[in-house]
């Protein structure tokens, strides 16, 4: 080989060494130039790069109170710069001796999607591209067949007499597959049962999205867009502070509200009272009563993720005007 190489150099003046050297150098330059290309694009936001502090920031569980205060100050500054508001940002810590559980009455839900949009407004989700934590499935009556469900329904009025409605959001599983697959421990389950994401630690690999049987995790494919007048200044580090591009997010049972004793936003907006929330360790809470006394359905129970989100039924079908006649016509 050496001999052949020297023969080539005799002919052209290019040695194997100089060829490879030049090729590597030029490829390297080309790679660097390509990597810097986003700088030239019109919609490039320097905020995408993040700050040095953000880069050096520790994992949520390893931060000292002082470091957390510094991180909160940085986020407040970023929110002020981006949205011209002063956020009430804090680190809402997990409650002790509380296990949050959600119950949803399938007999009552009419599929009006009020919860979906109240959630978006409360949790500062991106309006465009659209990110929604709750997906309301419309399912033909007589079965709970997710394969035949549709979440793009568009009726003049709901409920449609031939369908029932099943809103699906994060089930806050007791054995969460999304947490198991995270390669960097950017998502974990807290003591009160809420699975959270540290948006500053997430690398955006989307493994958790693939692992979740409830399609509950959402990815920020692009820089989230929230109109300045619609931002909710009531924020917590682990829930609804503005997210950067390229990270996962999910329902947190509105932990900035619920950890302070308040109801989740989706519950308060429900016009038919189909949603119930509370502490399952409290024997008097409404969710405990429901789990004891109502008939319960667990979505994808066979996935064995032990959800903390339960569907339940009333003994009687509730009365909805107009819709009644049509249903009775179909049944008779």
């Amino acid at each position: 080989m050496t001999h052949a190489g020297s023969a080539d150099s005799d002919l052209s003046g290019v040695t194997r060494r100089s060829f490879l050297g030049t090729a590597a150098a030029v490829t390297g330059v080309a790679a660097v130039v390509t990597a810097l290309k986003p700088l030239l694009e019109a919609d490039f936001d320097p905020g995408d790069l993040g700050s040095v502090e953000q880069f050096l920031q520790k994992h949520y569980k390893e931060m000292t109170p002082l470091e957390m205060e510094e991180a909160l100050a940085r986020i407040r500054r970023q929110v002020r710069e981006r949205f011209d508001i002063e956020p009430n940002l804090r680190d809402a810590r997990s409650l002790v001796g509380v296990e949050f559980v959600y119950a949803l009455n399938l007999s009552r839900c009419i599929g009006c999607r009020r919860c979906v949009h109240a959630c978006v407004a409360e949790n500062n989700q991106s309006r465009n591209p659209e990110i929604q934590y709750i997906r309301v499935l419309e399912i033909p009556k007589g079965t709970i067949d997710i394969e035949r469900s549709d979440h793009h329904y568009d009726h003049e009025t709901v409920p449609d007499p031939d369908h029932f409605y099943m809103p699906v959001q994060c089930h806050q599983c007791a054995d969460p597959p999304c947490v198991k697959v995270c390669p960097v421990e950017a998502t974990w389950q807290e003591d009160d049962g809420i699975t959270v994401v540290d948006y500053d630690w997430c690398i955006g690999c989307r493994y958790c999205q693939a692992a979740c049987p409830y399609w509950a995790r959402r990815f920020n494919f692009a820089e989230p867009e929230i109109p300045k007048d619609q931002i909710n200044p009531d924020m917590a580090y682990l829930s609804n502070r503005p997210r950067p591009k390229g990270v996962m997010e999910k329902c947190t049972y509105c932990l900035h509200r619920t950890r302070e004793g308040r109801m989740p936003a989706c519950l308060e907006v429900c016009p038919v009272g189909a949603r119930k929330f509370g502490d399952v360790l409290d024997p008097d809470s409404e969710v405990t009563q429901i789990l004891r006394k109502k008939r319960i359905y667990v979505l994808k129970e066979e996935a064995s993720t032990l959800p903390r989100f339960f569907y339940y039924f009333d003994e009687r079908r509730p009365q909805i005007r107009e819709g009644d006649a049509a249903t009775e016509g179909a049944a008779s």
Binding site: S12, A23, T34, S107, D150, H152, R262, G278, D279, A331
Partner: protein, 237 residues
């Protein structure tokens, strides 16, 4: 030769730099949601004690009129006042089933017991026992503000804050806009009732399954189960 190689690579770098733009994320119009669409205010404002009725622009209490003019006890006749009230409450179509005949600013419990308007739930419990029981335990209806049942700030809504007592069934609602699923095109065309993309083996398989299980026209005898979700759950059990 070396220069030739360098030129090749530089051309490549130039192509990377000035070539076709990288794919940008598609953005479409955002959903427009009015603040009134997602308000948490109770659906209805309810009569508290004392109940106030507006008659010809004047705010009147019940006994202002009913204390002066005696009205006859039979209740199936047409109203001469309160004509905006539409009564659509099934069998319960007599005024004095719920309103106290003598003291009109009270509600009528069993016998001659009278209760104030704010205890309307006890009145409803006369007929809707199971629902009343569920409501007491938080299984029916809605409570605002606090999730802890012992929290004094918790605000459970009373029956008449959601239901119109004269016509208690809910009206159907206009749904808010559905998800704007990007990158997938219009799902209605391909997945939901429209044309199925037969190049996709999964879709083809799904279509076969659907055709096998679903009759083309569900006849009346097939029957869509009236028990709805409840019976569906029964079936699953």
């Amino acid at each position: 030769m070396a220069i030739g190689i360098a030129v090749c690579f530089l051309a490549l770098a130039g192509w990377f730099l000035f070539g076709p733009a990288s794919a940008s994320f598609p953005r479409t119009e955002s959903a427009v949601i009015a603040a009134s669409d997602i308000t948490i205010d109770p659906v209805r404002t309810v009569q508290t004690d004392q109940p106030v009725v507006k008659i010809a622009g004047f705010e009147m209490h019940c006994m202002n009129c009913h204390g002066l003019f005696e009205s006859r006890p039979e209740t199936a006749r047409r109203l001469t006042q309160h004509q905006h009230i539409v009564l659509d409450h099934g069998l319960n179509d007599r005024c004095f089933n719920c309103h106290d005949n003598e003291q009109r600013d009270m509600l009528a419990l069993r016998g001659s017991k009278k209760i104030p308007y704010k205890q309307v739930a006890r009145l409803c419990a006369k007929c809707h026992g199971p629902t009343y029981r569920d409501w007491q335990q938080g299984m029916h209806g809605k409570a605002l503000l606090r999730w802890d049942p012992d929290d004094p700030g918790r605000r459970p809504l009373r029956c008449s804050e959601c239901h119109d007592p004269h016509a208690p069934a809910f009206d159907p609602l206009r749904p808010l806009p559905g998800p704007n699923t990007l990158r997938m095109g219009d799902p209605k065309d391909k997945q939901h009732g429209g044309e199925v993309d037969l190049k996709d083996p999964l879709r083809k398989w799904q279509l076969e399954i659907d055709n096998r299980h679903l009759p083309a026209e569900p006849g009346p005898s097939e029957g869509i189960d009236e028990g709805t979700a409840a019976s569906a759950a029964e079936a699953i059990r």
